[in-house]
Amino acid sequence: MSDMSSSRSSGFDRRAFMAGAAGSALAPMTARAAAQEARAPVAQDPALPVDVTLRVNGQDKRLSLDARTTVLDALREHLKLTGSKKGCDHGQCGACTVLIGDRRVVSCLTLALAAEGQEITTIEGLATSDRLHPMQQAFIDNDAFQCGYCTPGQIMSAIACVKEGHAGTDADIREYMSGNICRCAAYPNIVAAVKQAAPEIMKG
């Protein structure tokens, strides 16, 4: 037997990080959030709530959040929009994919504060009351899911994939849909669904 002390913590201090480095380390997202730049990082304790307004599926939602809250947790835990799923919380699986503007992002790696002022579209925002989005219908027609847990992320990603112009060939679809893991392995059916919906989506 040997004595050892250990903690799963790396010794990295989140508080110091949040207070001192918010402007630089989070640059990739904050740069796109012009409205955010005016906000100085005042909170000494990140658990102290920060007011934020998120625009989700065309509606403004006022929230008071822990500064470390991700878009995914804001949607799921604070807005009761549970369609976006947590599969890894590391940006590895794609189950949490939403659109911010026209861009597909993994909402688990995007802080809610960094998404303020931008249009967030989730799976709940696609269908109108009487009509599914063409990608949703294509997923049904081609049986592009089994357990359904990755499906909201797959569909959001698929819409962006088409709009980016990456749905021209099967090989392109496979490549550009590879950020979304489907453990049930509905992949060939997902490719078929994207192909079916692409012309209608491009038509607008």
């Binding site: 250990s6 903690s7 835990e77 599969g87 890894c88 089994q146 359904g148 496979r174 893991i181």
Partner: protein, 763 residues
């Protein structure tokens, strides 16, 4: 019709879209962690950083200072829980290692503390600030580690009853004209379903509601009640949708009773969403296995001797094993068979069921050895299977209820273009790519378990089916709705199905591919009870005995014969005659040969699966044949698998769409198992290294080849009333061997250890 919805052949249902399709594409399908809770507190787990030893002390000061922390629970202040027996030994638990009970550490990643806070963010931060002082001992990691113990499986594990043997193996092998002796290895694998191992517990007075992805709501309900020491009627498990299971959610994990106990103490709902890496150690996995195969054959390819010895890893605490020799000793005709399964114990978490638990590792060994034998005999591997095909299994001589193995080989070979294969290894190429063709048999036991159901029919034809089954992606809602629709003769869109709730009539574990056969047989039987009531009301004077059997389909009549009544009931007339607005029936179905205590066990959450090789006077399996093309780059040794073709026969196919999708997913699972998946274990520390979805490789869309699924028409009147064999675990069995056989054909090198990695290719 799209490729996703194949035209039904004889004895197949309609390929209707999934019952739950709209819910799943709109985000309205609610999984465990999606369930709304009233003012929940959030839990975050702290797990052990050592695999063996004990905790000296915790330093919680820093963690407690985090704003929003409510409580930190360790073994020093944890709720007291009762023990639960291992699932395989008649209990509910996937492991008998109970965390937070003492300072002892039995494996890496064991739960050692639970932080409860007002927010997820605060709970996570505080968990990261928990400091632990350990006394660490040197752990045993796996097969070759010092300190492991090895013993025969028989006598340790109630589900492993015997090592099958027949004839005189030693003599026959000694005298055999052609022999193959080889060793094979399969790695540790983790299910990694997309949904995390969450649990939410909310008490309403003395009643506990659990929202958790489960493949067995009755098992979980009864198991948690047992651990908490309360009446099982005070526990309800709700999970209308499960984000993938693959076996990982069939048995109870320790997390649930722990969270339930803390929620009770704090008098507040608690939501736990563990991280992906924690899922590697707080639930189960497929253990690594080793195999020694000996095959003896005559010059014409007939097997005369077969021996399969398997060794499987398990934890110190539990004798878990899969024991696939029950299948591999019975697959081919052979009069001299011997086998032995052993369990090796190390300082690991307890392994458990993972998609086709026995067949995946054991058929990899056998079907690889069969290919080696075909090479030695200079015989087409398809013909080798044909020569050894059998109608009766060799151990007890029992007849297969149906067996379309060679029909599957012939169909798949034709679709694949097997005839174009140039026989010699390394004889096919395309530029820098060596091309190999390979094939293997696949099979999975047909299993059933007792199930109950409640069906309510209204006079306008609206039908409500209630059954505590599980939708883990298999299409359970869909085939149950189809069964009720067909049986009652009401339109499919009028049928509602309610599942995933332990307040509903009990259904078995969604494991062992028994769900469709069991739940649909129960639903069919209860629909027949309704038909009988209506029939009696409309035709009170007619003798029910013969007429009802003929048109209402009582008893064990196969679905396809009875589904079409020659005398459709006039519902309005029948309801008028009965003088009621609603007819509701409850019934309990059990398969032929089920033990006497089956229904009692069904209610107490003990699944009594019957079928496969364990039946008295017959043996029931689904079969298939799988063909693959691999390409190995002669310079970089990169391995690609551009084509997978599988043909399968599984009795009645309830819905060709959902069946094809499951089999397609299974083939891709098989490819993944052969080429990608392995949990790496640090041999010094007995810790999993690649415990995340970036390092534990699962296929993404770009990895997935052209997959063709062929469904064969097959009718089997000797298995269950529905006539269905389970197929959810059928397709991922043969693929490992098929790919290794193709790699041999491409390169001339035999790979006997999975997964096949480019660094192991020596072209």
């Amino acid at each position: 019709m799209t490729a996703a919805a194949p035209e039904p052949k004889a004895n197949m249902g309609q390929p209707v879209p999934r019952y739950d399709a709209v819910a799943k594409v709109t985000g309205r399908a609610t999984y465990g962690a999606d369930m709304p809770l009233d003012n929940p507190a959030y839990a975050f787990l702290v797990t052990s950083a050592i695999a063996k030893g004990r905790i000296n002390s915790f330093d919680l000061d820093d963690a407690k200072r985090v704003r929003g922390v409510i409580d930190i629970v360790t073994h020093e202040n944890a709720p007291k829980l009762k023990e639960s027996k291992l699932f395989s030994n008649g209990g509910y638990a996937g492991t008998t290692i109970q965390p937070l009970k003492s300072a002892e550490i039995a494996h890496d990643g064991q739960i050692i503390a639970v932080v409860i806070a007002e927010s997820y963010e605060a709970a996570r931060e505080a968990a990261n600030r928990v400091k632990v002082s350990y006394s660490a001992a040197t752990p045993s990691a796996s097969f070759d580690s010092p300190g492991t113990t090895k013993a025969a499986a028989k006598g340790q594990n109630a589900q492993f009853k015997e090592d099958p043997k027949v004839g005189d193996f030693a003599k026959a092998f000694d005298e055999a004209e052609v022999k193959v002796e080889a060793s094979y290895e399969t790695p540790t694998q983790h299910h990694n379903p997309m949904e995390l191992f969450s649990t939410s517990c909310a008490w309403m007075g003395d009643t506990l509601v659990i929202y958790e992805p489960s493949q067995y709501v009755y098992g979980l309900k009864n198991g948690v009640a047992e651990q908490l020491g309360i009446d099982a009627d005070k526990v309800r498990v709700v999970n209308p949708y499960v984000g993938g299971g693959f076996g990982s959610r069939g048995s109870m994990t320790p997390r649930t009773a722990i969270i339930a106990g803390i929620a009770k103490r704090l008098n507040r709902p608690i939501k736990l969403v563990p991280t992906r890496d924690q899922g590697f150690t707080i639930a189960t996995y497929r253990a690594e296995t080793r195999h020694e195969i000996k095959l003896g054959a005559s010059r014409d390819g007939k097997l005369v001797a077969l021996r399969h010895e398997g060794a499987e890893m398990s934890s110190r605490a539990d004798p878990y094993c899969v024991g696939g020799t029950k299948t591999t000793t019975r697959l081919y005709a052979c009069s001299n068979v011997d086998s032995l399964v052993s369990i090796v114990r190390a300082d690991r978490n307890t392994p458990g069921f993972m998609r086709s638990p026995p067949e995946v590792p054991y058929l990899f060994a056998l079907e690889s050895a069969m290919d080696e034998l075909a090479v030695k005999l200079n015989m087409d591997p398809v013909e080798l299977r044909r020569v050894n095909d059998t109608t009766n299994e060799p151990i007890g001589g029992k007849p297969y209820t149906s067996r379309s193995l060679m029909a599957c080989f012939d169909e798949a070979a034709k679709a694949f273009g097997w005839a174009q294969r140039s026989v010699a290894p390394r004889s096919m190429s395309d530029g820098d790519w060596l091309i190999g063709y390979g094939c293997a048999a696949t099979c999975y036991p047909t299993q059933m378990a007792p199930s109950a159901a409640r069906v309510r029919l209204q006079r306008d034809g609206r039908t409500r089916v209630e059954i505590a089954g599980h939708e883990i992606g298999t299409g359970a809602y869909t085939v149950i709705a189809q069964t009720a629709s067909e049986r009652l003769g009401v339109p499919l869109e009028k049928v509602s199905v309610f599942m995933g709730d332990s307040d509903l009539p009990p259904a078995p574990v969604a494991g062992g591919s028994n769900s469709t056969a069991s739940t649909c047989s129960a639903v069919m039987m209860v629909c027949d009870q309704i038909r009988q009531r209506l029939f009696k009301a409309v035709m009170p004077n007619e003798s029910l005995t013969d007429k009802a059997k003929e048109t209402v389909g009582i008893g064990q009549t196969p679905a396809n014969q009875a589904a079409r009544s020659d005398r459709p009931l006039d519902l309005e007339k029948a309801f008028d005659a009965l003088g009621v607005g609603v007819v509701e029936e409850y019934g309990e179905w059990k398969p032929e040969g089920a033990p006497l205590d089956s229904f009692k066990a069904m209610h107490s959450g003990h699944a009594r699966l019957v079928g496969g090789s364990a039946m008295k006077d017959k043996i029931a399996y689904a079969f298939g044949a799988e063909f693959v093309e691999v390409r190995v780059n002669r310079f970089t040794h990169e391995i690609r698998c551009p084509r997978l073709v599988g043909a399968f026969a599984a009795g009645r196919i309830m819905n060709p769409r959902t069946a094809r999708s499951q089999l397609m997913g299974g083939l891709i699972w098989g490819m993944s198992s052969a080429l990608l998946e392995a949990t790496e274990i640090d041999q010094r520390t007995a810790r999993y290294v690649n415990d995340n979805l970036a390092d534990y490789l699962v296929p993404v869309n770009a990895d997935v080849p052209d997959v063709e699924v062929i469904l064969l028409s097959e009718q089997d009147d000797h298995i269950n009333p529905v006539g269905a064999k389970g197929l959810g675990e059928l397709a991922n069995v043969g693929t490992n061997a098929a790919i290794c056989n193709a790699v041999f054909h491409a390169t001339g090198q035999r790979i006997r250890r999975l997964p096949v990695r480019l660094e192991n290719i020596e072209v």
